[in-house]
Symmetry: C2
Subunit: 390 residues, 2 copies
């Protein structure tokens, strides 16, 4: 049941109408898969654990709904302004003098896949014109900052968002290892993509292990025994991120390098899935790969990306930001909002990406206040008055 | 410090001396890798999370000790007979009339790798002669029961231990799906090895997806998008166990079949590592693969193997055992002992495999009483008086 109050909030009555690409948003959300740890409570699904009596459940029209619609169905909550304030052009203008730095997540905030979110470039331009610092912070470590900056420019964003104002875990990992003295001294066993490789190259760090890994295709030996390991005294760290070539042979190597207590274990990020160009396809991100290495090695990684502290420390060190005068803007409560809250920043959730009002309400109900933003808005464009037509 | 009391227990003074292959045991234990979730507390290892200031730590003689010796160093605990009773030939004889069924784990109890544990075949013979039921229960789902039975015979065990008295998760999964009506009706997406395949073949179950999976070797596309999925309405279950060909393409497929709420998610077992012929090499088992699929799909599997209930239900149904008159004998507190305790059986931990007295004491200290056995013994042979020499 959508109450009058909920409906009012969803339509953002205090803001003037904003043209948002709703279909794009819907596709995007359904492409984000499911985060819940429990099997969904679908009528008739019977996996009786105590009796191990499995029953086949025919897909019904309801069980065939996309996952997102099952989990993101409108709740009967009354959305309350006491939970998170809705930002509109007027209230945003009041807030502006109190913020020096705006940190933007990318996917779901600035763009959706390869398409710009209408209104977002204009907000960045507005902030730059008002002498605000703008930074982009993404958990995507598969691309280097240089490649991400190319996309930013291609989509028509202000040149203030560029290679030097973009932060991702690839850059932070390379920086951390460089400052720890790895260059010319220790090697890194890498499960990772172009982003980490290029950022490490830029700092002269030596790494190995990435790329396609041959595996005996026969069934003669059940397990993978015949891995060629490098001298473990020279391997100072195992870095794990998303790599499409990840396989059991790489898992064996990572677990065995990590057997050495002096070998550091760094993970780029632990997002379970990433946005997919096909909204019907779940695309795993680094999370599942990190989970496998964690399980096999029995070691806990130092995870760099949001919502963790290493990437915040990098930002604070580089730009000397004052968290109280900084706003973190993202589309996910569990990464962006939690990251902002955990590090003393103001937080704004835009509804143009992954999480929605019902997710905020659920977090609030469950006492997960570090995943409840200070502010919400439909999208970045909703923070400005519409442009006058000439 | 080994106290007099500890020393007495370790030497099992109430039992007559038993010839145990101690070197074999030591190699075996060190091949089991590490289960702890935290990085080991090695002097000088600095991964300052709040400051992300990593420091290189040179391997020192102490940090180069094999992991097992770091974690399994003798504790200063006084081992108490109140925690677990030591079984010797006399006390075992007293216990015998109260037990009808003995369930044996395999690796570390009956054999170590490819070598029989001296004294174990004789105990099985003794029990068979005394009209006890003997069953073998292993979490190894990579081999079918028929192949496991071949090994049992090759190592000289009583023919009472055979294909029909062996239980493993492969057999239970096939049985469960068969009884659920999958045969000729629903297909199974399988990440698994010969064991699950052969057991499914035997019951006429249809499966697909196993074996080497091609992957575009180029770096042109970062993520794996181009997977060919079967009609999801015909896929009734995803079964995940150890398969050396597991890779990102299989991960994508498993996660996407599991997007359908009607698709069951079964895991053979979740052991992190398995015994390795090379004691210096960690060999991941099914656990890391299940962890990856769990993370990518957001679904919780029904895990069949010890210490979970599905495999117990299978045994109780097939042999109508009385748990109170059944003894579970194994070498691991977290699988064998927990399995026995959770299902109302008596439990015996033999010290000829993975876990030792200090592990029991640690579990006891941490209140993990479901991982503290009723009884301990150095090995199965220690339960019988030595054979008289002619």
């Amino acid at each position: 049941m959508i109450t009058n109050r909920t409906a009012r909030v969803l339509l953002l009555p205090r803001c003037r109408p904003v043209r948002c690409n709703r279909q794009l948003y819907r596709d995007f959300r359904s492409s984000h898969g499911v985060k819940e740890r429990q099997s969904p409570p679908v009528d008739g699904l019977q996996a009786n654990v105590s009796g191990t009596q499995l029953k086949i459940v025919e897909p019904t029209p309801s069980s065939l709904r996309p996952y997102s619609s099952i989990f993101h169905r409108p709740k009967e909550d009354h959305f309350s302004e006491n939970v998170a304030k809705t930002l509109c052009p007027e209230s945003f203008e009041e807030l502006l003098p109190h913020i020096d730095t705006f940190i933007f997540d990318a996917d779901g905030v600035l763009w959706l896949g390869d398409e710009v979110i209408p209104g977002s470039p204009r907000l960045i331009d507005f902030l730059v014109k008002n002498n605000k610092r703008v930074l982009m912070l993404t958990n995507n470590a598969t691309k280097s900052r240089a490649l991400i900056a190319e996309k930013i420019a291609r989509l028509g964003y202000s040149p203030e968002l560029n290679k030097d104002t973009v932060v991702n875990p690839a850059a932070v990992i390379a920086d951390s290892l460089y400052r720890a003295g790895f260059a010319g001294y220790k090697k890194v066993y890498l499960i990772g993509s172009q982003g980490v490789r290029d950022e490490m190259d830029a700092l002269g760090l030596e790494y190995f292990g990435h790329g396609p890994e041959p595996l005996d295709p026969s069934d003669e030996r059940t397990y993978v025994h015949d891995v060629k390991m490098e001298d473990h005294t020279k391997v100072g760290a195992v870095v794990v991120g998303y790599e499409k070539h990840f396989n059991v042979s790489k898992l064996v190597k990572a677990a065995n390098y990590l057997k050495q207590p002096h070998c550091l274990f760094l993970a780029t990020n632990e997002d379970e899935t990433c946005p997919s160009p096909d909204p019907n396809l779940i695309i795993p991100d680094a999370g599942p790969i990190v989970a496998a290495v964690r399980c096999a090695s029995g070691r806990e990684p130092l995870t760099i990306g949001k919502p963790n502290s290493p990437i915040f420390d990098f930002i604070r060190r580089r730009w000397n930001i004052d968290p109280e005068r900084t706003m973190m803007i993202g589309d996910r409560t569990n990464t962006d909002v939690k990251f902002g809250r955990d590090h003393g920043m103001r937080t704004l959730l835009v509804l143009s990406g992954c999480h929605q009002i019902e997710d905020i309400m659920e977090n609030h109900r469950n006492g997960l206040l570090d995943m409840v933003p200070d502010f919400i808005a439909t999208c970045l464009g909703a923070l400005l008055l519409p442009q006058r037509k000439n």
